[in-house]
């Protein structure tokens, strides 16, 4: 439910508020947008929520392919690592962009 709210905010803010083709922001507009403390927080929450959701979804699909207990343990571990790397990269990206505004 939280994810539906966050994705709605994200999509509306990125594509339906900005004037211009496709609602896309220019370089300067992106930096100013991400530097807003409220947006910065929302984007971080969104990143974490969407990554956790994605990893759990992938886990469900992969568990259908691998029924062995050992294989499932490896899948779970690999997805935890992938999720942590994804969040870490996303946070670094958001922080780097916000600091340039």
């Amino acid at each position: 439910m939280a994810l539906v709210v966050l994705i709605t905010v994200h999509m509306v803010a990125h594509h339906f508020v900005v004037q211009g083709t496709g609602g896309l922001r220019s370089y300067r507009q992106v930096l100013e947008y991400v530097a807003n403390p409220a947006i910065f927080t929302i984007e971080l929450l969104f990143l974490v929520a969407v990554t956790v959701h994605a990893m759990l979804g992938l886990r469900g699909v992969l568990f259908d392919l691998a029924t062995g207990e050992r294989a499932r343990e490896w899948i779970s571990r690999a997805l935890v690592v992938l999720g942590v790397v994804t969040v870490a990269y996303g946070v670094a990206l958001i922080v780097a962009l916000a600091s340039r505004a």
Binding site: T21, G23, L24, V30, G57, T67, E69, T86, L93, L97
Partner: protein, 141 residues
């Protein structure tokens, strides 16, 4: 009788009995109910969205070198083909999100036994939102 039950319990849970369904059996649409087709579509859109998550992070990384790379990308991203892909992305998000709400409402017991009606309600709402968004996105290209 209880000996047989104890013996069966001692062997632990059944991981797989006989050949069973194929690992990708969930993809087979033949003879499926609306609920199963909704589940299949949910998985396919979910896999597409996971792919898009990483594509999105890669695209946003273009902002790191500076404005030039981003502005070059914007020229490409505002072509009609890319805006149509945006509409496709929105379809995936709407389907996955609305179906997720349907599953939540049914699964938590708020609206049990109404899963088909909820799917159709989601289809109507999703189609309307997608049409309005497509006009907004493509209208300015």
């Amino acid at each position: 009788m209880s000996d047989a039950i104890d013996e069966r319990r001692s062997r632990g849970p059944v991981q797989r009995k006989g050949l069973g369904p194929r690992p990708v059996g969930w993809l087979d649409p033949r003879g499926r109910t609306l609920g199963h087709l909704a589940f299949v579509a949910n998985r396919i859109t979910g896999l597409g969205l996971v792919f898009y998550l990483y594509l999105h992070l890669a695209v946003l990384s273009l902002l790191l070198p500076g404005g030039e790379a981003w502005n070059d990308f914007l020229e490409l991203a505002t072509t009609t083909v890319f805006l149509l892909l945006d509409v496709l992305l929105l379809f995936g998000l709407l389907y996955h999100g609305l179906n997720g709400l349907r599953v939540t409402l049914v699964g938590t017991g708020y609206v049990p036994n109404r899963q088909k009606a909820l799917w159709w309600a989601g289809a109507v709402i999703g189609t309307l939102v997608l049409a309005l968004a497509a006009i907004r996105i493509l209208g300015e290209s």
